[in-house]
Amino acid sequence: MSLKALLPNTLLLLGTLLSGAALAQEGSHADPDTLVVQPHGAAAGHEVAEHTSSAHTPEKFNAGKLIMEHIGDAHSWHLWGHTSLPLPVILWTDKGVEFFSSGKLMDEHHRPVAYQGAHYTYLLEHEKIHAVHVDGTVNEAAQVTDLSLTKNAVTLIAACALLLVVFVGMARGYAQRSISAPKGLAKFLEPIILFVRDDIAKSAIGEKHYQRFLPYLLTLFFFIWSLNLIGLIPIFPFGANVTGNIVTPLVLATITFLIVTFVANKHYWRHIFAMPGIPVPVLVILTPIEIMGHFIRPIVLMVRLFANIMAGHIVLLVFFCLIFIFSKNGESLIGGYATSPFALAFTIFINCLELLVGALQAYVFTLLTSIYIGTAVAGGHDDHHH
């Protein structure tokens, strides 16, 4: 393993160690406060009776809940203990757009409270915002679409901004240096760009067509990779599980599907609808299968990325949660101390593995996209499969 590869590993190790502290506080997040409904500042008089039970029973450590919270999306960014960063809530309702801070939707103990917006009263429950009546029942008539900048959305936009800054900056550097060898970050990134170009795009799509798809493939690769890495660093500005959210693989696979569908040539469609050299009775079975295949391949792409990243995050968290499970939520210190080195070691090990998996999944997604595009644009003579 070269020095280049060691550096991010070391960083990740550090991140994992720090995450221990962050998660430890999370684990002991037992809220001793009793259930109190408090009137909420400006929206006084519109307070709503709490009807969520799970959030307010004295909490026991619940590994499943913790894991789900960590891999899921959130309207506020949990920093440590009882501190979280409120994020902007944007709601598209049938009466107009609403814009307010997510801090308005919970009290200082992180319990959901209703907020009177301009058009409706809103309640955040299980990370879903509903329009509610004054008595706390869901207002079914109100049409509310939640376009909030959630933790994932913010991370996503930040990652996009980061990609833009890095690569546009890199391009600027290239323009200045003209054809001399790359320097700094470009020196590290250029081989990767070349790798995507030569080893993924050119080899899978072919010399003739690959250049057209290169911008998409490069963006795809770096987008997935960066978000995977961001998801692996478990401290504040990072940690959002964007690629492990169904939306990312879904959108990316859909784009790939659209590209394949639109660029596919006659040869590709003929092989789907009327494969040459196959008798008609067989075609009756084969054609639906091939059509199915056309739709299933992007689904495979999606499932793969989603399942891998999701599974990685879950495994990581499970190992970490072992500490709390064995310490019986802090009651058995011996259990906690005895298991924590092992659990921590495993967590670190899995994190390193995930680092690899993050890059590998970006590679796999890009490669499979290239292969699908390759089959769609391949000519009749130079491809080997039938």
Partner: protein, 166 residues
């Protein structure tokens, strides 16, 4: 099931931001980066080709040099050989000439010696003849004296007529 139900909000932001990022990166990042990378690759390739061509030229040139050197060497060989031949010829010529001269000299010397010898013999003959005449003359005159005087005279004459003196 909640995990696999796409939330509309995130879906919206995803489509928006990914669309924008693809578009912006394609326009302001990938195009210039790939452009300059391929330009660099082209220039490297050109440089490599150039170097290859140069190497070939060099090889060709050195082959030419070799030829030239060989040629020069051959020429030198020829010239040296010629020079050697000429020298040998000259030496041989000189030798024959010297030999002939020496022969001639020797011949002349022999002739001279023979001539001198002949001359000496003739001279000696002449002197002997003259002496004989003189002796005869003196003897004749002495004959007129005493016999003893005559003998003494002959002895005296004979003593005087030392052959070596003449």
């Amino acid at each position: 099931m909640e995990l696999v139900t796409p939330p509309i909000g995130l879906l919206f932001w995803m489509c928006l931001s990914f669309g924008i990022v693809v578009w912006l990166l394609a326009k302001y990042a990938w195009k210039p980066i790939l452009g300059s990378v391929s330009q660099r690759e082209r220039s490297i390739e050109e440089a490599l080709n150039e170097a290859k061509k140069m190497r070939e030229d060099m090889a060709r040139m050195s082959a030419g040099n070799e030829e030239l050197m060989r040629h020069a060497r051959e020429e030198r060989e020829v010239m040296l050989k010629e020079a050697r031949d000429i020298r040998d010829q000259e030496i041989a010529g000189a030798k024959t000439k010297a030999k002939a001269e020496a022969e001639a000299l020797l011949g002349r010397a022999r002739e001279d010696i023979r001539n001198e010898k002949n001359a000496a013999i003739t001279e000696m003959k002449n002197q002997v003849a003259e002496l004989s005449v003189t002796v005869a003359e003196i003897i004749l005159r002495e004959k007129l004296g005493s016999e003893a005087a005559q003998h003494a005279l002959v002895d005296k004459v004979m003593k005087d007529a030392d052959l070596r003196k003449s």
